[in-house]
């Protein structure tokens, strides 16, 4: 790297300022949506979840452009197994969002936590040269876990990227009134305030957008914090 004083001789551009190429330094923002694909989701739940994510994409594209971030979106589904429905990719390149199909298997949070711990690493999903914001993870389920997820969760909580991530959750359908589901999800999210419960299916699409965009916007709005106390 040349130092000031001699770098200026390296200049090759000699045209009008408007033609000068500009390179961006946007922050990369990884957003992962983890959706429950167990049989209990069959019907309205899964179709609305898919529709919600489809509607979310153009809003994320707008968000990324407005706030000048490079937003990578990844979608994974879980039962007692994990499936990456869409590996993280720049949201501008998302033309169609692959739907989540329900499949046999029990609701196991542990498989999600295990996968997140594996993938939230510098040599996997966080591989990026340049500025990178804390990831955003949205967890969507309609029921309490059937597994003993705590060991995976404990390991995951030691993952620095997870610890810094902004984590929200949507509990839908019958899970909305299930205290066990609430208690389990509460251990995952950044704070208890980050759980959105949706009893009515008709509200799921809007809730997915609300949860994701609010969590993302919260990151940006923190840049303009009101002060804790007013100074007179």
């Amino acid at each position: 790297m040349a130092e000031p004083g001699n770098i200026f001789e390296d200049a090759v551009f000699d045209g009008p300022i408007g033609n000068m190429p500009s390179e961006g330094t946007n922050k990369r923002l990884l957003t992962i949506m983890a959706g429950d694909a167990t049989k209990s989701m069959e019907g309205e739940s899964i179709s609305q979840l898919n529709y919600g994510m489809q509607e979310l994409v153009p809003e994320l594209q707008r968000f990324a452009s407005d706030y000048m971030v490079d937003l990578d979106l990844g979608i994974l589904s879980f039962t007692n197994s994990i499936r990456w429905e869409m590996e993280p990719m720049n949201v501008d390149q998302c033309i169609d969002v692959p739907p989540i199909h329900v499949r046999p298997g029990l609701t196991q949070y542990g498989v999600v936590y295990h996968e997140l711990n594996k993938m939230l690493a510098k040599d996997h999903l966080l591989k990026h040269e340049g500025k990178q914001a804390a990831p955003v993870i949205i967890f969507m389920t309609d029921g309490a876990p059937t597994d003993d997820y705590r060991r995976d969760l404990e390991v995951l909580k030691k993952n620095t990227y997870f610890a810094q991530a902004n984590r929200a959750a949507i509990i839908l359908g019958e899970g909305a009134n299930d205290p066990r589901a609430h208690a389990a999800v509460e251990e995952f999210v950044s704070s208890p305030d980050m759980i959105l419960t949706v009893e009515k299916h008709s509200e799921l699409v809007e809730s997915i957008k609300l949860a994701t965009l609010r969590t993302l916007k919260q990151l940006k709005e923190c840049e303009n914090d009101p002060k804790p106390d007013l100074i007179g």
């Binding site: 130092e3 000031p4 770098i7 200026f8 408007g18 500009s22 961006g24 966080l126 609300l210 709005e221």
Partner: protein, 480 residues
């Protein structure tokens, strides 16, 4: 149905000014603001912009109950209420009553708007009340400075039509902030989002002026990360923004206007795999290192973190660097060591006078570096003005501005002369309103050039612009 926090106002909704006048919401313009949304509204037969405060930093669930949606770090509930409640309301009411310090630069609040109109001071619900203010709409030919910071592959990128427009934009921003500071007020949240620029002319509108208040008075913002002054973050956000913090923010804004990148971003950032708020506070404010600091190479620009600055510095006038070094080296710890606005206007005037248009339509321009002789346009002369040695590139279509003669930086946009060409020789027209004394090196005579008259200029020509102050411009050929 009453409007609620964190919810957008539906088109067609009717609101009222505090004087009871009707307002109709037409459409959403922007939902990007940290404090509220901006709408196009109609009022008294005209269209205006309405900023509506509807953020409280918490997000209420819109579907079911009052469950809250995450409170940003460092923000407590009382402060949140104050943003939408009484403190900001009082700031806006004060601004509505304050004469606009520069109506050609600031879009200040015109009138306070609520759902139902008048609000009494004793109104107990005032703290929970939603409100906003109206301002003039931004003309279509102005764009947020943020859009000038986008990369070439971003379809929303805006670029300056010329170096002139870019430097004029810088001068106009500085002049606007200076006007405010001269009135004893400070802006408090200066950043690219709050500045709209005409890319052809460099004219600037200062928008989102709702945090302006008398310097030292309370306010509901700290500024914005990346633009906030170091002392605010170091104080744990206890210090309020003021004139000195505006000067820090101003230098960052100007740096980005000219060089795109952030002055504190460089290779040091590689050490941080995640850029969290804490990391930003550390690198922007607690231990910032200016990436072009000649004495400290630790945070040099690189292709990832600051890919534009070196290339742009290479083509823009070197004099600009003075102002940045003063603020980003001396002014980090010493808040009074930052480049003040009058110094910026001096610096920018030097940069302005190094620019020349290469065509009669004033579309294509270049920076003239007198020390790089092979790049000087053929026939370009140099005029060195006054004891300070201010250099002006003399070329057809060039203008001479009053500030360099009078020494009053506020006169940076008053043209007192212009250059043209006749029979292959540069000529100047006196537009000052006063006669100039001109020494002709061929005739070896001093003559008087009346207002509006043209005269030829050759190496050796001397112009006395001001007989009282004896301000003289001496012309030479920079290629010799």
């Amino acid at each position: 149905m009453p409007l609620r926090i964190n919810e957008q106002i539906p088109a067609g909704t009717r609101l009222k000014t505090v004087a009871g006048e009707d307002i109709k919401v037409l459409e959403l313009i922007s939902a990007e603001g940290g404090q509220g949304d901006v709408y196009k509204v109609s009022w008294k037969g005209g269209n205006y912009a309405l900023k509506w405060y509807n953020r409280d930093g918490t997000y209420q669930q819109c579907t079911k109950d009052t469950q809250k949606w995450g409170c940003p770090k460092n923000v407590d509930q009382q402060a949140n209420l104050d943003v939408v409640g009484s403190a900001q309301y009082d700031t806006i009411c004060n601004l509505v009553r304050t004469p606009n310090p520069d109506p050609l630069s600031f879009k200040l609040p015109l009138v306070v708007v609520t759902e139902k109109g008048a609000v009494s001071k004793e109104d107990e619900k005032r703290k929970e009340m939603l409100f906003g203010y109206m301002m003039e709409l931004l003309p279509d030919d102005h764009f947020e400075m943020k859009d000038f910071l986008r990369s070439s592959d971003d379809p929303r990128q805006k670029t300056f039509a010329s170096f002139h427009a870019m430097i004029w934009a810088g001068m106009n921003i500085v002049a606007a902030i200076r006007t405010l500071h001269l009135k004893g007020m400070s802006y408090k949240d200066l950043k690219p989002d709050n500045i709209a620029i005409n890319p052809e002319t460099g004219h600037v509108w200062m928008i989102d002026c709702d945090n302006i208040s008398v310097d030292g008075k309370s306010c509901t913002v700290n500024g914005t990360r990346g633009y906030m002054a170091p002392e605010i973050v170091r104080s744990g956000f206890r210090l309020a923004p003021n004139i000195q913090s505006d000067q820090f923010s101003l230098a960052i804004v100007l740096f980005r206007l000219f060089y795109m990148d952030h002055p504190m971003e460089g290779k040091l950032w590689k050490k941080f795999p995640l850029i969290t708020e804490d990391v930003e506070d550390e690198l922007y404010c607690i231990h910032p290192i200016y990436n072009m600091n000649p004495q400290d190479k630790r945070n040099r620009p690189d292709k990832t973190y600051a890919p534009n600055v070196e290339r742009r510095m290479a083509i823009l006038p070197d004099v600009l660097r003075e102002g940045f070094e003063r603020t980003f080296i001396n002014g980090i710890y010493n808040i009074h060591g930052r480049t003040p606005e009058n110094s910026w206007l001096h610096i920018l005037a030097k940069a302005r006078d190094q620019l020349v248009f290469l065509d009669p339509a004033c579309k294509d321009d270049r920076v003239v570096r007198f020390n790089v002789k092979e790049k000087i346009p053929a026939g370009c002369l140099r005029m060195t003005i006054g004891k300070g040695g201010h250099e002006l590139a003399l070329y057809p279509m060039q203008s001479i501005f009053k500030d360099i003669i009078s020494g009053d930086v506020g006169e940076y946009n008053i043209r007192i002369g212009r250059a043209g060409i006749s029979k292959g020789t540069i000529i100047i027209q006196n537009l000052s309103g006063h006669p100039w004394e001109v020494y002709d090196p061929v005739a070896k005579k001093i003559g008087t050039v009346a207002d509006n008259r043209w005269f030829r200029v050759l190496p050796g020509t001397q112009i006395q612009f001001d007989a009282v102050r004896k301000v003289i411009g001496k012309v030479d050929d920079p290629c010799r």
